[in-house]
Symmetry: C2
Subunit: 202 residues, 2 copies
């Protein structure tokens, strides 16, 4: 059985948990209190030198870091990955966009405000810059979803799972989704998928 | 023939150009002066709403953004991608690490200092933070390369190309590689690969 080192409020961890659930794969959860340095201990750094969750333990092989590497590994050949080569590459492009443009802004602000309980006054200009970049990313996502049910082709894929993870809790970082009707409609479509489970479900 | 919208000093563009060359694939280069907004024109935004290069045009299909999605598309099934599923996932994990931990720090500082010609005094604390995070990323890369010839398995893969792209020009952002002997040895191993070409080669 897979082992998953994770922190339940993490959207990156949630991507992996949702894929495991929707593929019907069993796993043992090892919860780490990352707010208090549990992913930076010598013991954990020996497993993942980058000191981050989620981390998957694959019996007989070893450890695998990075949420998008993990979900790609788990879902290879499944209904969550397009058969067509170009659509598969478009899915990967959305995953890259999430990690480069959306996550460092929308997710980081949520982590500061919601998990670390920092105040906007403490964060100052850094918060303002990440808010601006986060809304830029949400606007690109809105444009990508306009007139479409899902991000790639006409089916639910890893791209929807990965972008959903932090977008659906953007309000916890103070990002209103009111200006993004296509995003709001798509969030509901993701939530209607078989095997859907909320972010903190084990 | 593929079309490639690119900016020659870009490490992200270089990843794609090196893969095209090493796979022997022809392409037509369309150079964009991104320092002067050429990737944010309405015409380009219609091709890539995220306003970034590199962008691949695939005849008969459409456009593909994100350097790692592009190189994954081009190299699928080639010698640059491991056959083993776990090794392929480890390669993807290194690609994710590059975009999340190395590129936003090592590459961004290089872009500020080398391309935009900003001074450290202008950049202030933002520069110091990115220097610290950039060295953290280089230390993780050093650890990943210690005792190994290449990043994944025992062969040259897309992970080596992607991590090489900005690491080999880190000095242009003021990052010394002197503390990283395994990185320096690996840079030479990458440069010995058949079909290697320098960053600004067309």
């Amino acid at each position: 059985m897979y082992g998953l080192y994770d922190y339940l409020p993490s959207g990156n961890g949630y991507k992996v948990r949702l894929v495991l659930k929707q593929l019907g794969l069993g796993y043992e959860l090892v919860e780490l209190d990352i707010k208090n340095g549990a992913s930076r201990t010598p013991e954990f750094l020996a497993k993942n030198p980058n000191g981050r969750i989620p981390l998957l333990e694959i019996p007989g092989r070893g450890y695998l870091a990075e949420s998008h590497a993990i979900i790609g590994y788990l879902a290879e050949g499944s209904f969550l990955v397009p058969v067509d080569r170009y659509e598969r590459a478009q899915m990967t492009a959305w995953l890259c966009f999430e990690q480069y443009n959306l996550e460092p802004n929308v997710a980081t602000v949520r982590f500061w405000l919601h998990s670390l309980k920092k105040t906007p006054a403490e964060l100052g200009e850094r918060l303002e810059e990440k808010r601006r970049l986060g809304h830029d990313a949400l606007a690109v996502l809105e444009r990508g979803l306009t007139g479409r049910r899902f991000l790639v082709g006409d089916a639910y894929t890893l791209a929807d799972i990965a972008l959903y993870a932090y977008t659906h809790v953007a309000a916890e970082g103070g990002f209103s989704l009111e200006p993004y009707p296509a995003i709001r409609q798509w969030l509901r479509a993701v939530e209607e998928q078989p095997g859907y489970a909320p972010i903190t479900a084990r």
